[in-house]
Point group: C2
Chain length 360, copies 2
DNA sequence: TTCCCGGATGGGAGCGCTCCCACCATCCGA
DNA sequence: TCGGATGGTGGGAGCGCTCCCATCCGGGAA
């Protein structure tokens, strides 16, 4: 395979053998269907696509023929003429597999799939891996291969995300994207309010020495939660308190808590920007022979069902990821149907779920 | 939308507006490309598809034009004539979202994507949800919409899985499918040997009262691990020992361990069929004021990196899920290239990773 | 009766691509 | 000198579908 255009998306296809004519008998075409039903191609087509102007008899004949022949419309042919790909991309702009390991991702896939259920849209997974791949991804998205895209914008967006808007491909973000100006539509939970609620809750318990384990500062969610937290402290008349940064993992949460307690041994309340980190905080606190919640109350973020059950009930901020992903997909479906229309961001209200880790 | 054919896959497309002619200028076609390069459509096509019989000048001209025009081949048109969809399905025959939450799934997606990286194949996610959906899924797979399928066969397969073989769509399973006769190709770790290794390892430490927390008996992996475990015990001259069943989760592992210890308080070694369950076992053992590994040695299965780090080093059987998924994808790619050829199962050797939970 | 109108139908064109085949050079061995 | 390989090229057909248009048929108004 020669020269020059290696990065051009899809141009160089890896030469897979011409697929020695799969031994199966050919699939029935619309023509076959029409013949079996005793109608014309056009009528069959109309019957299939929501039958306006089709007599009941013709409709019935076509329906029967579909069942008899096991007919499935050829998606490629349909796409070719309608210019609708019949699929949406889930873009994961993460160079490595880290995001994947995050159950957040699983929730997103579940939610999106849920919304796509009674659509004929298929979900195509697009992971942009190393650097130059982003242009390839962009090209793919812009090349009419999908009808829309959902971007899980976990990290500070690479430049290409902004470019996405100009390709004309309907796009919805899950999690507020960094680029605020361009008004890209997104779905998110009210991270700011979540942080604020955590602060108010801890303050309301009479805790006065509050610290937080924030998430990575290249994620909007982390930044917003931290801002809200600070705002909440201010409103409660409390000092800003110490901040340590974690990477949303349990281990990271424990490390951050360690540094937090080293700096401020008098701490009696901690807000961790994710449940996993909160778990790390709890572990560390206990390993230092201090009790949760008696000595240190802990609030998490995400309300992940699995974690709530581990003996310790974790007070946390609800983050209905699956629902949000479904909403994003819904939004996208709407955008595909009526292009041009300006989409409003959807922001889920933050809601505190009080459990044992702050009881008392 | 009338009558009769509601379950026919893709036949009734939800009527999304005819997409008011997306405001973008039309994408360049091969014709445009050829004109820009000063060659014929045929030559341009040849240049794009791995340029045999194309002069260097023509090739260069086409390459330049591709860059200039930002040309991307229209996948639908290509598919229509080549009968290659340019995508493979990852089938998750799970009615609910449970599998998704399993990091196993994330590993699979990562691995598959890795293998697909330098192919022009896209990954399409297919979750068969409720009952009648399975026929819909089957129809989709058989309808030429994808070139192949990877089935994550976590549970005892529904009938439709066997039918898959007869559709002529190349299929590879991850995890041995139940249906042994049909000789479906699969990739798996040597579960039997893994169980056996665990037994031998514990026996080798001088532990004589051994029990196991097995996985759900509707999964081949669980069954095979249990069989291997029993074989290992027999070879070591030990009695079969108690068995409790868990659901591969931490909580399930703890529950099972509780019943195990209730029945056999003298236990000094436990093999749990997954790391998560092993973690539950460790938790429970400790909560009963017994020590790991001094009082009870614990062996897990999966070697999940995240868990290895939680203070306790868990002895476990390696289970390279990502690699296995990549291998499955590789196998599938091969099968797509040369249909007809009989594929051999790929079985990764089991390997024991010894850590603190059995040290001593 | 004649005319028209609207619902139902069938045929043709064409979406963008790959493949087959015909064509034209050029170069070689006879 | 001429035949037949050979390498490069271009045009035509056609993949299976949807859309546009022309056609047809029946019933109510003129």
């Amino acid at each position: 395979m020669p020269s020059g255009c290696r990065n051009v998306c899809g141009v160089n296809q890896k030469t897979i053998q011409p697929a020695a004519a799969r031994a199966t008998r050919p699939l029935p075409t619309l023509e076959d269907l029409a013949r079996a039903a005793g109608v014309s191609r056009s009528t069959a087509s109309r019957a299939i696509n929501g039958g306006s102007r089709v007599s009941p008899e013709a409709q019935a004949a076509v329906d029967a023929a579909i069942l008899e022949l096991g007919y499935t419309p050829n998606r490629a042919a349909r796409t070719l003429v309608t210019r609708r790909a019949g699929s949406v991309a889930l873009v994961i702009p993460e160079p490595d597999a880290r995001v994947m390991m995050d159950p957040y991702f699983a929730a997103v896939v579940t939610g999106v799939n849920q919304a796509l259920r009674d659509t004929d849209l298929q979900l195509v997974l697009l992971m942009s891996r190393t650097g130059d791949d982003s242009s390839r991804t962009l090209r793919y998205l812009g090349g009419g291969h999908v009808d829309g895209a959902i971007v899980v914008s976990h990290h500070r967006s690479d430049d290409w995300v902004e470019t996405l808007g100009s390709t004309g491909v309907p796009t919805v973000f899950i999690g507020r994207p960094w680029d605020r100006k361009s008004e890209l539509p997104f779905v998110d939970v009210d991270n700011f309010e979540g942080g604020r609620l955590a602060a108010r809750h801890l303050a309301g318990l009479g805790r006065t020495h509050l610290g937080t384990v924030a998430g990575p500062s290249d994620m909007t969610a982390a930044v917003d939660r931290l801002e809200g937290w600070r705002q909440g402290l201010k409103e409660a008349g409390l000092p800003p308190g110490p901040v340590a940064y974690g990477d949303f993992t349990t281990a990271g949460g424990a490390d951050a808590a360690k540094s937090l307690l080293a700096r401020s041994p008098e701490l009696d309340g901690v807000f961790a920007a994710s449940d996993l980190m909160a778990l790390g905080v709890v572990d560390l606190v206990r390993s230092m022979k201090r009790r949760v919640p008696e000595d240190i109350a802990v609030v998490g973020f995400d309300n992940r069902a699995i974690l709530a059950a581990n003996g310790l009930g974790l007070t946390t901020v609800a983050h209905p990821m699956t629902d949000m992903a479904a909403a994003a997909a819904q939004l996208l479906i709407g955008a595909i149907g009526n292009p041009g229309q300006q989409l409003e961001p959807v922001i889920y209200p933050a809601e505190l779920v009080v459990r044992g880790s702050t009881a008392g």
